[in-house]
Symmetry: C2
Subunit: 233 residues, 2 copies
């Protein structure tokens, strides 16, 4: 028994203060004209992570190394026998967190791609709604225990920008003062650059870069209201 193997991407970014996902419009059946996650087949001599990186580079229009400036991790595999009417297809989903900078798309294929807020989504093709839901929950959980929120930010960012990432992903409000204390007092969360913003409203803010810590100790837990049940099995 053999299977087709694809990679699908849950690409998340923050646009206009809303957590958004990149969706394409399918140009061919099945689900022609419907919305779907971007993805494609794994090449014969390609590792899964490489295939995901290649798709990410294609969608962002950036070279692979620039696309990796954000974050890319495996999310999970989906292989229900009937998930694709064309036959037995197993897809390995990857979660990508990208800064807003890359414009909606410098696409190559005919299919149009757009950033869509994850709240109030249209129906998606295949089992992509489930994959997306898993990806969003993974992102929400990861912000608690890792400094990955910075993956949504440009190379240098202010504490307020980082806070807005948390607020968008968790759909909640955080106290700017307590957030500032937490971020700056947690070792390896962010690194001060010495530079500051200028020309914006209010007092200039220090600029930071992403710190070296792979995990946060202690974690920055979501307020109870924004916490959800973890994905099933």
């Amino acid at each position: 028994m053999t299977f087709a193997v694809t990679v699908d991407l849950v690409m998340l970014t923050i646009r206009d203060g809303a957590l958004s996902v990149l969706l394409i419009r399918r140009a061919i059946p099945p689900y022609e004209g419907g919305r779907a996650l971007p993805g494609g087949f794994v090449l014969p001599e390609e590792d899964l992570a490489d295939a995901a990186g290649r798709e990410l580079a294609e969608e962002t229009g950036l070279p692979a190394e620039a696309a990796a400036a954000g974050h890319l991790e495996q999310l999970g595999s989906y292989g229900a026998p009937d998930r694709d009417p064309r036959g037995r297809v197993v897809t390995v989903a990857y979660l990508a967190l990208v800064p807003d900078a890359p414009s909606p798309r410098a696409g190559s294929d005919a299919a149009a791609a757009d950033w869509v807020p994850v709240e109030g989504l249209p129906p998606l093709a295949f089992d992509h709604e489930r994959i997306l839901a898993d990806g969003v929950e993974r992102a929400r959980a990861k912000l608690e225990y890792t400094p990955l929120a910075a993956a949504f930010c440009p190379p240098e960012f202010t504490i307020a920008e980082l806070r807005q990432v948390y607020e968008a992903v968790w759909a909640t409000k955080l106290d700017p003062r307590n957030f500032h204390r937490k971020v700056t007092s947690t070792d390896g969360f962010v690194e001060a650059t010495g530079r500051s913003t200028a020309g914006e409203r209010g007092r200039p803010a220090q600029l930071f870069t992403r710190g070296a810590a792979p995990v946060l100790h202690p974690p920055l837990l979501r307020p109870d209201q924004s916490r959800q049940l973890p994905a099933l099995s």
Copy 2:
């Protein structure tokens, strides 16, 4: 391009106070005679999770519903082009946490299976060392944020048994008094049955069952010494 798709199991249990994994001895090439994780091909009309559940039932010798008394979750997929010399094989790894009760195996195949402590492991076939390492780290992390430690215990257990699970998985010692306070004061972690142990050394202990909470709030964090870096991407 088509692929063979397999599921591999990282089955963990606590034996003699040591976190242990079920390994088989391969009866056929490649890696003939070598140690490997149990696994097998996904059937033509089978979902991935069903395949994992089937393999788990086969290895434990228990019916599927009994095997699921522990915990089974998808760990990740591994698909490097050269990971299997026979050709292009993508494996979806699952992590299973099982109580010690099921004996080393009521196997059906010729291949022998044994529980082996995860410390001081023999070399494994394919990329199974990496898969196992990812599984162990997943289990360690999950004990922090979920009440899953109970999946290693029989249906009714004492706080001390639960503590020994943590101590085995994290390879650390925990203060019995603080652990008791934490477990009993965290809502939904465990439920008292009203029954107690009898006939053992020392004061009888209350028996508990697993609570309903899907996650622990706040988490039960590992002491710093036993914390590790999360798995790569």
